[in-house]
């Protein structure tokens, strides 16, 4: 067990808590940076997809995990980002300009949704955002001059650093850089007054208000930022799937994005990465498992969503803190070994229960 001896207030606002953190995160970055040497093409592509998901996950985590506003319509923001980026590329806008443009456009879309959505919370907000996603999907279908309707269009392949973006190693590093920068931005936001105001709104609106938090403004900000991150992910997503069609941005994707935050662990940026790994890897795991299952089960068409749902139910029942919560418990178990008490996290659990009964 490590006890950090604090001698300076700066230690509490630093990126790392102690040198151990510096070492392990540094090692992780090195490993991820060396992945193109270690992994074959297929797994590199999967890892790239996980990074893209994680960027979108940051957006959802800020909104749902930190501000407490549930959105079931984030596929729409991902779609707006992807379509905008695809359209700009078509018009000859260079890649480095098109990505920020599409991100800004999605941010504006988020702000626009926030205005009516601010009056709602909880399940009503979830329904409203869901309907927004349905509307946007229709827009993708009908606005043929831009989106080419059902047929869709293929995303252009720009040259970046003299290489085509289809180069898997280049695309991998771009996604990794975007994720790292997005993570840094999110961490900065969360250790500054804006992030604290988000958490305050989540935990008690009335107290936040009395401390001077302008509820409407901060909720709108949270929505816009969340949409912005998701739109940024959308740009990368467009290149990942290569061909944009409305059915790529349906309700299932919205649900998967939200589940990513819930499964990873609400209210933690670590959870975003765990959730993205989970959502990205599950289809592969199921594909591998298919070979070992009896045919009658393996050939069922709904196997994947079924397993997905089952795991989700299990997580909500047994580990409401998500994968990151479980990770912390396992870590503490080894840190305290052999003194770990089964009831170490008990209070949190009973607390959640009493809250649910309210």
């Amino acid at each position: 067990m490590r006890f950090v001896f604090k001698t300076d207030y700066r230690q509490d606002i630093g990126l790392f808590r102690h040198n151990g953190d510096r070492f392990w995160y540094g090692l992780l970055v090195l490993l991820v940076a060396a992945a193109p040497l270690l992994l074959d093409r297929f797994y590199l592509g999967e890892l790239t997809y996980v990074f893209v998901l994680a960027v979108a996950g940051i957006g959802i985590m800020l909104l749902t995990g930190y501000t407490g506003l549930v959105s079931l319509g984030h596929a729409a923001f991902l779609g707006i980002g992807a379509y905008a980026h695809g359209y700009f590329l078509q018009q000859g806008v260079p890649f480095v300009l098109s990505v920020p443009l599409a991100t800004l456009l999605t941010t504006a879309a988020g702000l626009l949704v926030a205005l009516p959505a601010l009056r709602m919370t909880g399940i009503y907000l979830a329904i409203a955002t869901l309907l927004f996603a349905v509307i946007i999907e229709q827009v993708f279908i009908r606005w043929e001059s831009v989106t080419h309707g059902f047929r869709g269009f293929s995303v252009g392949v720009p040259q970046v650093f003299g290489l085509p973006l289809t180069d898997p190693v280049l695309f991998y590093y771009i996604c990794f850089a975007v994720l790292a920068l997005a993570m840094l931005a999110a961490i900065n936001l969360l250790r500054s007054p804006t992030g604290r105001a988000f958490v305050a709104i989540r935990d008690s609106e009335i107290a936040a208000q009395s401390m001077g938090v302008h509820l409407a403004r901060y909720k709108a900000t949270a929505f816009a930022i969340s949409a912005g991150f998701t739109g940024l992910a959308g740009c990368l997503f467009a290149h990942k799937i290569g061909y944009l069609a409305p059915d790529a941005f349906g309700i299932i994707l919205s649900i998967q994005l939200l589940l990513m935050a819930v499964i990873g662990g609400l209210g933690s940026l670590h959870g975003v990465v765990f959730g993205a790994l989970f959502v990205g890897a599950l289809p592969q795991v199921i594909a591998v498992l298919r070979d070992y299952l009896p045919d009658r089960i393996a050939q069922q068409p709904g196997l994947e969503p079924g397993v997905f749902g089952l795991i989700l139910v299990a997580i909500i029942l047994f580990e409401p803190q998500g994968i990151y919560g479980r990770w912390r418990k396992v870590k503490l178990y080894f840190q305290l070994f052999p003194m770990y008490k089964a009831a170490t996290f008990k209070r949190q659990k009973t607390y959640t229960r009493s809250e649910r009964n309210k």
Binding site: Y9, R10, D12, I13, A185, N188, L189, R191, S192, P193, T194, G195, R196, A197, V199, A200, R202, D203, S204, I206, A207, A208, Q209, S210, M211, G212, V213, H214, L215, T221, G267, R347, Q348, Y351
Partner: protein, 253 residues
Amino acid sequence: MTLFRAEDIAVRFGGIKAVDGISFGVERGTVFTIIGPNGAGKTTVFNLISRIYDPSQGRLWFDDRDITGLPAHEIAGLGIARTFQNIELFEHATVLDNLLLGRHAHRGTRLWQDFLFTPAVRRSELAHRRKAEEVIDFLDLAAHRDSHIANLSYGVRKVVELARALCTEPKLLLLDEPSSGLNVEETEDMAFWIEDIKKDLGITVLMVEHDMTLVNQVSDRVLALNYGRILAEGTPAEVQAHPDVVRAYLGGV
């Protein structure tokens, strides 16, 4: 010198008059207590002052400024902080985060600066931290600084809420039943702190309280309410001796 003045304020919820034409003034540097049986409208008065409810009539004056039409989030910036009857802390954050949120009204950085965590943000965060630490020292919360609120006992939470309100550097502090749920010892501590807040920090206190020992110990003026109307106003002794107040608490005598 009057710091806060309520002028003939009233609020109706449907047909019920929760507060029915109340006027009172709080002198600078005093402790002013509102007492009254349950449902007398005490907390409603607080919610009117912190602008959570809109009064149906009357005006509120703070520091010679009409605050009747201000939105709730501007009240903290003016110098009015409050605590809540049923603790409204940010449950899933640490004590320190709660106190730092109390500094929100003094935030001086913009969103883009927060995104980049510029040196300006770093400086202002450190300044907020120093202020929060002053309050931690004042209320003896050092042992709980990094605890999550969800893991704290009720008594400590009460103090944390007081600390959060002090972090806003208020001129007027509204305490809604500061002693409810506290044991005798904790209530005594609370009484000392309220006196220190008045004397050392020079903050004017307006509180709602049921515990008459605490009321007698710290109050300069007491206002008794019942059914949204004023029964009596005066020193603690005067109000307690007032026949209407005795009748309200003990029934018809």
